[in-house]
């Protein structure tokens, strides 16, 4: 089975982001999506620390540490971009103004619950803006490996890790499939050629239908 690479997943997510969308990319895997948005498609990238119109990383030596993304990496500002303070930034996120956010995940449940901030136990928890995005963006895309490194499904009947949001996930993009969360449960929209639908179901830990 040839799984998609992280960049191929990012490219697949990017295909579903239309011109004119206001989009927040979470830290980690979702950050890669920015590299796959075609230059001629105008998409407004939002960064929680007060940037709309975020551009790509600067050339080496051009870094400005007052212009960073949520992962605290240097970025640039596109022509037409704007800065604003944190309460305004989170009003955009919490007030339903973002069309799409893309988040990583530890687990997604059959009902679209998301767990992505804490693995429990004695790990030091960190939540950042994940709960605000989960609650506030019009659509929540999740980008994750289909299975954990030990082969367990990251789709679950019920999340065992602490929740980020309830019933908030719209679509999940994995290294083997694109799966929508619908009122009637998980529905596979597409999957890699080297898997049959039955094989996809076998590695997905929650009931799965097909379009």
């Amino acid at each position: 089975m040839t799984r998609l690479t992280r960049d191929q997943i990012a490219a697949r997510v990017a295909r579903d982001i239309p011109e004119g969308a206001y989009v927040n990319l979470g830290i980690g895997l979702p950050t890669l999506v920015a590299n796959h948005l075609p230059a001629d498609r105008e998409v407004f990238l939002h960064s929680e620390n007060g940037i709309l119109g975020m551009g790509p990383a600067p050339a080496a030596g051009e870094e400005d540490w007052d212009l960073i993304n949520a992962g605290k990496q240097p970025v640039t500002l596109r022509t037409g971009g704007a800065f604003f303070h944190h309460a305004d930034s989170f009003a955009m996120m919490r007030g339903g103004h973002l069309d799409i956010c893309v988040l990583g995940a530890f687990q997604v449940s059959a009902g679209g619950d998301l767990a992505n901030w804490h693995t429990g136990g004695d790990a030091i928890p960190a939540v950042g803006g994940a709960m605000d995005l989960a609650a506030g963006a019009k659509r929540v895309f999740v980008m994750m490996e289909h299975q954990t490194k030990s082969g367990e499904s990251k789709f679950v009947e019920r999340c065992t890790y602490p929740l980020t949001g309830i019933g908030c996930v719209s679509t999940v993009y994995t290294d083997v499939a694109v799966i929508d969360v619908t009122a009637s449960g998980l529905v596979a929209r597409e999957w890699i050629d080297s898997l049959t639908f039955e094989q996809l179901c076998a590695i997905t830990g929650a009931p799965l239908a097909r379009i």
Binding site: S47, E48, N49, G50, I51, E63, D64, W65, D66, L67, I68, K72, L77, F83, F84, H85, H86, A87, S89, F90, M93, R94, H118, D122, A123, I124, P125, A126, V127, G128, G129, A130, M131, D132, A135, G136, P162, L163, T164, G165, I166
Partner: protein
Amino acid sequence: MINKIVASPAEALAGVADGSTVLISGFGGSGMPWQLIDALIEQGARDLTIVNNNAGNGETGLAALLKAGRVRKIICSFPRQADSWVFDGLYRAGKVELELVPQGNLAERIRAAGAGIGGFFTPTGYGTALAEGKETRIINGRGHVFETPIHADLALIKALRGDRWGNLTYRKAARNFGPVMASAARCTVAQVDEVVELGALDPETVVTPGIFVTRVLAVGSTVMRGPQKPATPAAAPAGKPD
């Protein structure tokens, strides 16, 4: 004549009491008021409750304040980072208390304090561990959680330019928490790269009006060329960012 400009870091931090709640601006290193934090360490107040988005990076700024043992509790959204070893060690040793807050609640709770709001209901965190024990209400069919304001004794913020009335402008995304924090403390101290004459700031571009600012300290250019350490005034003279 009103003059909020103070001459020294010691004057900027004069009178901070043990046990104070202190808002500190910044998102990672961007917008972190390094010089004011150094001055707070020098001033010596202890048993502090610190409110910041993070819990310090490397060994400077907020991490240095933690390392100096001055912090009893930190209220933040994202403590765990690749370079947060000072906090991690204190937390694991049980030497600092953590109140983890979703970042939007952090900003809005601070904003609420500044705006005289007694609390608010938000869908953020509903049904999660971070809402446990909090009042909830269904509004328009959706679960909401009641969140309370974060009032502070002191706010330490970083801005780009300020005048003697305390009007402030910021630089790029270093603005982040500065404006909301300025409004939420009984005493707000702003460090600025440059103090300018009254009238030099275009009124259309003032982000924080002086009513929210108590003291202003000029520190010289802090334009950063590295993620942790700002260029010091000695290395980068005022007005000439390296």
